[in-house]
């Protein structure tokens, strides 16, 4: 019998990249459930649509690139990208917008850069940013109202709205709390703004109806991944910390700016903190670098939310920091054992 001749180590921990991705998908389930509870089946339809398109696109590109298709489909990375994108999109986004976003994410943002592991930018966020810039109307008017505020959307209604048209759309959609607050704060006081039903019934302790639970669900999923050591604490902590500090510094007066509580628990904050910013391929990889990278995202989110024209900012903040990640890595090498101090920066030639 021919004996194997390979390099050590001979022991490896069981599991593979597909397993990591499966854990990520598993951890998103609470968030998806909360989203579906408050905003109807729209997201489930979007997820199904996005996964289908993503897998077809992935297979097609792999075929063109002459790579083993089954081997790469099994890493579930396309599925994760598709789900993240679907979660970021409004629930009633027209099907063609979703398709364009997914195709762009998989074909351009991922495979044109060399496939999994080589893409400098988060594919889901690239796809999202593309459609956000290209099709602003459907992207801002397709959020359904929270379940408690409007007639619940049947599966058929949702399907017809996503795939065939938008006649009744106004009956179900509504601005998001972040967007609303931001625009009203110029003319109203905090108390007046909070009278709007999207912030929950008056006199209740809600921060933003539905959104708070969705964000907490994503937080729970994120904590699960942290416990499973899929990623480290650095990015989420510095991301949320920076966002919180910015919100306190600049938004301490709820009558003039969006309060910190709303920043943390509305919009895509938690989804971004645990599932988008932590995408390892495009994030910084050194411990210190991760802290800088996460903090950068948190600051950019606040800057764009507070002074930019887009209602939410996770996608742009993440993409901006993706740019910086390789640079950050170069300057944040840890101190290697036995070295007096860490080497920083590019290779010096002396």
């Amino acid at each position: 019998m021919k004996l194997l001749n390979i390099s050590s180590p001979h022991l490896t921990r069981p599991g593979n990249t597909g397993g990591v991705m499966q854990q990520v998908i598993l951890a998103m389930i609470p968030g998806i459930a909360a989203l579906t509870y408050y905003f109807g089946v729209g997201h489930l339809i979007q997820i199904a649509l996005a996964i289908t398109v993503a897998l077809i696109a992935e297979a097609a590109v792999l075929y063109v690139r002459r790579k083993p298709i089954g081997f790469f489909l099994k890493d579930y990375s396309a599925v994760v990208t598709a789900i993240l994108l679907a979660l970021a999109l409004p629930p009633l986004t027209p099907w063609w917008v979703t398709t364009v976003a997914v195709l762009f994410a998989i074909v351009v943002a991922k495979h044109l850069y060399g496939g999994l592991g080589q893409n400098p930018f988060n594919p889901a966020m690239i796809g999202f940013a593309l459609v956000l810039i290209s099709f602003p109307i459907p992207m801002t008017t397709s959020w359904t109202a929270p379940a408690d505020l409007a007639a619940s959307l049947s599966v058929g209604d949702a399907l017809s709205m996503i795939f065939f048209g938008r006649e009744q759309i106004d009956a179900f959609t509504m601005a998001t709390p972040l967007d609303y607050y931001k625009h009203q704060v110029a003319v109203q006081t905090a108390d007046e703004i909070l009278l709007n039903p999207i912030f929950g019934p008056a006199e209740s302790s809600h921060i933003a109806l539905g959104w708070e639970w969705i964000n907490l669900a994503f937080l729970a999923g994120g904590l699960y991944l942290l416990w499973r050591k899929i990623f480290t604490w650095h990015i989420p902590v510095s991301y949320l910390g920076a966002l919180f500090v910015c919100a306190i510094l600049f938004g301490w007066d709820a009558d003039t700016a969006v309060p910190a509580s709303l920043h943390l628990l509305a919009g895509a904050t938690m989804l971004g903190a645990f599932f988008i910013a932590t995408d390892p391929v495009t994030a910084s990889t050194t411990p210190l670098g991760k802290l800088i990278y996460g903090a950068g995202i948190g600051i950019f989110i606040y800057v764009i939310r507070a002074w930019g024209s887009y209602p939410d900012a996770v996608a742009f903040a993440v993409l901006l920091m993706n740019f910086a990640a390789p640079f950050i890595d170069q300057y944040t090498q840890p101190r290697t054992y036995g070295h007096a101090k860490a080497k920083r920066g590019l290779a010096s030639k002396d």
């Binding site: 019998m1 021919k2 004996l3 194997l4 001749n5 390979i6 390099s7 050590s8 180590p9 001979h10 022991l11 490896t12 921990r13 599991g15 593979n16 990249t17 397993g19 990591v20 081997f71 890493d75 990375s77 496939g115 999994l116 592991g117 080589q118 050591k229 899929i230 990623f231 480290t232 390892p280 391929v281 994030a283 990889t285 050194t286 411990p287 991760k290 890595d329 090498q333 840890p334 101190r335 290697t336 054992y337 036995g338 070295h339 007096a340 080497k343 590019l346 290779a347 010096s348």
Partner: protein, 738 residues
């Protein structure tokens, strides 16, 4: 006072692989039976390979030195049993590459007869240098895996050492050699440590041991309590089980919180680290006088019917060790020497157990499945968390893959200890360590290449400088010669009168053929003048300012020699008178040599006339010295060299014809033969090359074919000529000999 050292630090990174240690600890250590042969590689340690001191077929006794250490960082090698040296040759050695190295094979005679040896009984009272000497003689090198000669580590200045660390962590899965050794032979280990304490004289001694070895900890505790070391220097430091706590650098970090500086050794921070097995071997070497000839090796793995630890003679082939543990070859899919994290696979079971072989794992496919296909790196950073050297494995991976040596260096690849923790945790099944080994190899290669190219550059520049210098010297010589000749000419204005006078006398005395005698004399005089001017050059060069005296001497000498030459010519003439008659008789069969001689004489005459003219001219233009004399001297030189060549030709043709078997001609044919042979060889190569070129031209239908053909014909003719000449010369040489 407690025996436990409680202040344990932590090192960053590390992993927790399944231990799989219990299988091989169920049974006590067994003594492996005497194998049919012992194969001992001469390089079982880090450093210079030992040099064999035995010869093929020599009888050796157990414990006899069979290979001697070369230099300080090297170790002796001893015969593990008595027997015959049956081979000293290249054999497969336990090395990842599967390559061969020099090995000494001993066929045991079954007597197992010891060489005379004695231990040091009161080893705690003798001088440390004596103990160190004994350890060095006993060929002890680190038994933990690296194989660094122990005496080198122990030779550190005791004043600078404050901690002795005994590495008993044995953090790799499967391996239990140190564990069972501590369980069964703790007392000897502690005595070995006492010897080490005597040598190193530290302030404290810590035995670092993982908490998964409670039996060993208990045995050591008992042994320490009964030991002679009543100052309680020795303390047990129980560390949490985490791979790679047994790495020297990691253990030092665990026990002292210090880090070995990059490029340094533990002694730089006052620490000496020795493996627990090494301490045991040191006890045996010092107290019993037994060199390192055996070790404890774990034989384990799922393909073993009964995993167990064996005391194995060094050199025992793996193929004879595996059956003892009942290894099923049908199940065995991977055979690892060392642990599963850092050990290497063997594909040849004939390799021997060496000083560093702590474990053999005969693994089945279920146990250690074939590596899964490598997936894309998603930079998940699990490797960063696992790396005990605080490197960035994922970055190193990218850089190694893309051969970016500069970045590999910047990211401290060389600090990687190849522990395998990164590859262990990698979800993408990337054989990271192999990438790093490749990268390290390339880096080392690049460094070596750089060194070599620097040296090549240096040598090239040195060569250029030398050539320049030589050219300059030549030029200087030429100038000096010209100047000397000029001065000589000026002085000669006076000298020639006497010289011609004497030569004229001589010519008158030799009435026959006065012209020729004169001419020859003058030729000789010119020759001598050249020689003199050379000497003068040398003198002038050497003494610079003292030219005048040197020149005077030279003139005197030259006149003297001219007189001598005149006499010689006269004698030669007498001989010449007789010679033509003899030649005429014997040389008729070979018209070659007389003709040549005639030609030569004619040539010489013409040349001599020319030389005379030149001399006269020079004399006339005495005031104009420099230029005229320069040319004159140069031309004279040419003439002389030509004349010399002509003489040589004449003598060689004379030897060819073998008509004058005079004693002084004898040595020449030999060199002539060689010269002819060379000519033939050269002609042959030229013919070969011409034929090649012709063939090529013909193939490609070039229009140079005709030209090449004539060229080839010419070459062939030359070859034939050369061959003929050679044959002639050979014949001549044979005749001369006979």
């Amino acid at each position: 006072m407690s025996l436990m050292h409680t202040q344990i630090f932590d090192f960053k990174g590390g992993v927790h692989p399944a231990e799989n240690k219990q299988q091989s600890t169920e049974l006590p250590i067994a003594c492996a039976p005497m194998p049919s042969k012992l194969v001992l590689p001469i390089a079982q340690h880090i450093g210079a390979p030992a040099e064999p001191t035995v010869t093929l077929g020599q009888q050796v006794l157990k414990g006899q030195v069979i290979a001697e250490a070369q230099g300080f960082v090297s170790a002796n090698l001893h015969a593990p049993t008595s027997g015959t040296v049956s081979a000293i040759e290249l054999r497969a050695i336990p090395h990842q590459s599967g390559m061969s190295d020099w090995c000494i094979e001993i066929t045991p005679d079954g007597q197992d007869q010891w060489i005379e040896h004695a231990g040091i009984v009161d080893f705690l009272d003798v001088e440390p240098s004596v103990l160190l000497e004994r350890i060095q003689q006993s060929g002890i090198s680190g038994l933990g895996g690296a194989g660094f000669p122990s005496h080198v580590k122990l030779a550190a200045d005791p004043a600078k050492i404050d901690t002795l660390i005994i590495n008993a962590a044995e953090c790799e899965p499967y391996i239990t050699a140190d564990d069972v050794l501590m369980r069964e032979r703790a007392a000897e280990i502690i005595q070995g440590i006492e010897i080490l304490l005597r040598i190193v004289n530290p302030k404290q001694c810590l035995i670092g041991i993982e908490d998964n070895k409670p039996e060993a900890i208990e045995a050591l505790t008992k042994a320490i309590q009964v030991s002679r070391d009543d100052t309680h220097l020795i303390k047990l430091a129980v560390v949490p089980t985490k791979y790679p706590s047994g790495g020297e650098k990691q253990l030092i970090n665990l026990l002292t919180g210090q880090e070995v500086p990059v490029g340094g050794i533990p002694a730089d921070i006052g620490i000496v680290c020795q493996n627990v097995g090494t301490a045991y071997a040191i006890y045996h070497a010092v107290a019993k006088g037994e060199p390192l000839i055996s070790r404890i090796t774990t034989v384990t793995g799922a393909a073993c019917a009964q995993p167990r630890n064996y005391e194995v003679l060094l050199g025992t082939p793996v193929s004879e060790l595996l059956p003892l543990a009942g290894v099923d070859h049908n199940q065995m899919n991977r055979l690892i020497m060392g642990g599963p994290m850092m050990g290497f696979t063997l594909n040849n079971e004939e390799v021997p157990v060496v000083k560093t072989t702590n474990c053999l794992i005969a693994a089945s496919r279920n146990e250690l499945p074939d590596p899964a296909a490598e997936q894309a790196c998603i930079r998940c950073g699990m490797c960063v968390e696992a790396c005990p050297a605080q490197l960035l494995p994922q970055q190193l991976y990218w850089y190694a893959k893309s051969d970016n040596l500069e970045q590999l260096e910047t990211h401290n690849l060389m600090d990687c200890i190849e522990c395998g923790a990164c590859a262990f945790v990698c979800p993408s099944n990337i054989p990271l360590v192999q990438y790093y080994r490749y990268g390290k190899g390339e880096l080392n290669q690049a460094r070596a290449d750089k060194q070599k190219s620097d040296r090549a550059k240096e040598r090239f520049e040195a060569r250029l400088a030398r050539q320049e210098r030589e050219a300059a010297e030549k030029e200087a010589k030429r100038k000096a010669r010209a100047e000397a000749a000029a001065k000589k000419q000026a002085e000669k204005k006076a000298a020639p009168a006497t010289a011609t006078g004497t030569s004229a006398d001589a010519a008158q005395a030799n009435a026959a053929q006065p012209d020729m005698a004169l001419l020859q004399k003058k030729l000789d005089a010119a020759k001598l003048a050249i020689e003199k001017s050379k000497e003068k050059l040398a003198a002038a060069e050497a003494e610079g300012s003292d030219k005048v005296e040197a020149f005077k001497l030279a003139v005197e000498k030259s006149t003297q020699k001219m007189k001598d030459a005149a006499k010689a010519i006269a004698e030669a003439k007498k001989a010449a008178k007789a010679a033509p008659a003899a030649n005429g008789a014997s040389d008729k069969g070979d018209p070659n040599s007389p003709e040549r001689l005639k030609n030569k004489l004619e040539l010489a005459e013409a040349r001599l006339k020319a030389a005379q003219d030149r001399l006269a001219e020079a004399e006339q233009q005495g005031s104009d010295k420099v230029d005229a004399l320069k040319t004159a001297v140069e031309k004279q030189q040419e003439r002389v060299s030509e004349a010399k060549a002509a003489y040589e030709q004449a003598s060689s043709s004379a030897s060819n014809s073998a008509s004058t078997p005079a004693s002084r001609v004898e040595p020449e044919p030999v060199s002539d033969l060689a010269a002819f042979e060379q000519k033939v060889l050269a002609a042959q190569t030229r013919v070969d090359k011409a034929q090649e070129r012709l063939a090529m031209a013909q193939e490609q239908n070039l229009d140079t074919v005709a030209a090449l053909q004539t060229g080839l014909e010419k070459q062939l003719a030359k070859l034939a000529e050369a061959k003929a000449a050679l044959e002639q010369a050979q014949a001549g040489a044979q005749e001369v000999k006979s």
